[in-house]
Assembly symmetry: C2
Homo-oligomer: 349 residues x 2
């Protein structure tokens, strides 16, 4: 679809005004930098069709999710292009992990403020390649547009689960135990370091600051846990909007009493918290960790733990879902934390 | 995923600053205005999960396409919200029609510059409802974000075709006849009227100006032709970037000699062209018609025509694809038209 200003006088920049290091056309952009990411995928038609084709294996359901990322909102405009590309695919692959699905393919819609340079497209497509090879999926289609707004990267991802084995967000029952993968709060501290390179200087070592920054810039979807979730979890979701907010979503009508001491933290986050108790709020409400929150019925706990160990993914127990209990969070001294600000909402507070 | 500025001082607007007529939160926006559009769709989980589930019927392939629309690029920021919603879904449903697919479901990603008013969301969701009821599909998932850029509406649509019956863009062979549905150029004239309400005054009647404006604002995907395409077309695509550009895509390595007199035009476009020969270029290169270009092998032409007639869709023959011929367009006097500017490209000219 052409832009509404396509025929407006003066809106067409002339080829001779275009720096030589920028892509020449949509075809150039798509065929030079993106089509190689679709190689070997029959339903992608070399990115030369208007649509892509998915032929699901018999006995599988298709899982679909779409989380765009926008410059100035979900990443910084001067983040490395390969990191931006990685994050764009990783946040979507993380949803597949939480649903017990195996990523198959994705569609990319790029809205670019200007014709990108060849250097930027090379680095961006390199980042996508690393991500898709890590997550086991391929590009199958998409769209590119020029926008008066910020760079925006839309990905819709498709995954497969055996029919009927989708892991829902709302399947948890009172009595289920709640587990979380990995460590929490790293990405929120990494965001602080990304925003101010001197953040936590003197509190964290250079290695620790590099670690939390890496956790923010390059989230790692917990895809290795997908099979265990399918077989043993009653509900799961990934932590994108903060532990408290996503835990409340998992709990549904049940409540849980959570002590800060149960929240798994990396040495870096532990050190920051020891230095400043206010870091607790960052840990509880910061987003971007892309760890998984999992509800497991008591009878399945032993098998769930074995599955996680086989997958090589650390899990920690946060507590038990209880009917008729409030959602309570206590700090390291046992004092109730104000739960009003549970996490980020784009349209409130 | 929270925005990178979530914890920046001063970035949180206070509830008391929020006008009462705006949505209160993402949950309010999604559950009040969007979840009703997902009613009855089992795999949508009431828009309360991170992903949606599609269980394809055995023997079907899934067709996927994603075309976002951006304010100031693909629509005007002050277009009626119900028209914007209609267009967002229609341009995607049009891809399904061109591939011979039946729309099943779609995912919506909304990037909004501010918390929308309840009035805007009501009208926007009404437009989506009209469109999805017309096209036979339902909302199954999505995402909402706040953006520093313009309103952007991303839709990924899913359709079904019987296995192996996808209609490709690149399937045409020399000797195939090329047909087009409906009339061409209406939307491009409608865009001119949308941009300047006095455009074509004295040339077109008020009814004709309203007609072309409606064709621009409310494209009608030719879904009724999908079955006929599956059975009788060798290739098809919808005309989104202009007749010339999309015809060149369909022709592939073949050429075609096209006379302007073969291009079907509404009385409105005919009148505008009779008044100003320069309208020819608008007709040939203007986009947004969302008619279908179809290649049909000679042996299938009779059945194709019967199918189109049964579907109630007017078709016109543009010409025959020929090997070793150039792509030529001649105006009403038989003079070759400069084919350099074949249609819109976001990143060149």
């Amino acid at each position: 679809m052409p832009p509404t200003h396509a025929n407006a006088p003066g809106s067409e920049d002339r080829p001779e005004d275009r720096p030589a290091d920028r892509v020449e056309s949509e075809t150039d952009l798509v065929q030079t930098y993106l089509a190689p990411l679709a190689a070997g995928s029959a339903g992608a038609f070399g990115l030369r069709d208007d649509a892509a084709l998915i032929s699901p294996e018999p006995g599988t359901d298709l899982v679909v999710s779409s989380d765009p990322i926008i410059a100035g909102v979900h990443f910084f405009i001067d983040d490395a292009p390969e990191d931006v590309a990685w994050k764009a695919l990783a946040v979507n692959a993380s949803d597949m992990a939480a649903k017990g699905a195996r990523p198959l393919a994705y569609i990319l819609t790029l809205a670019l403020p200007d014709a990108p340079t060849r250097a930027w497209m090379t680095r961006f497509s390199d980042g996508l390649r690393s991500a898709q090879e890590s997550f086991g999926c391929r590009l199958i289609g998409g769209d590119t547009d020029r926008t008066p707004g910020p760079l925006s990267i839309g990905i819709t991802i498709f995954g497969a689960v055996p029919a009927g084995k989708f892991v829902p967000r709302l399947g948890a029952a009172a009595g289920d135990h709640v587990f979380v993968t990995g460590t929490i709060g790293d990405a929120a501290l990494g965001l602080a370091v990304r925003r101010d390179a001197s953040a936590f200087e003197g509190v964290l070592s250079d290695d620790e600051r590099a670690f939390v920054l890496g956790r923010y810039l390059r989230p790692k979807p917990r895809l290795a846990l997908a099979e265990t979730l399918r077989n043993h979890a009653s509900a799961a979701l990934d932590i994108s909007d903060g532990l408290m907010k996503d835990l409340a979503r998992l709990a549904g009508p049940s409540g849980i009493s959570l002590g800060l001491g149960s929240v798994p933290m990396s040495p870096a986050v532990g050190a920051a918290l020891a230095h400043d108790a206010a870091v607790a709020k960052t840990v509880l409400t910061g987003g971007d960790d892309y760890e998984l929150l999992v509800a497991v019925p008591p009878a399945a706990i032993a098998d769930f733990k074995i599955g996680a160990e086989r997958a090589g993914i650390a899990i920690s127990r946060l507590g038990v879902l209880e009917a008729g209990r409030k959602f309570e969070i206590r700090d390291q001294h046992g004092t109730l934390i104000d739960g009003q600000q549970l996490g980020y909402d784009h349209f409130s507070r």
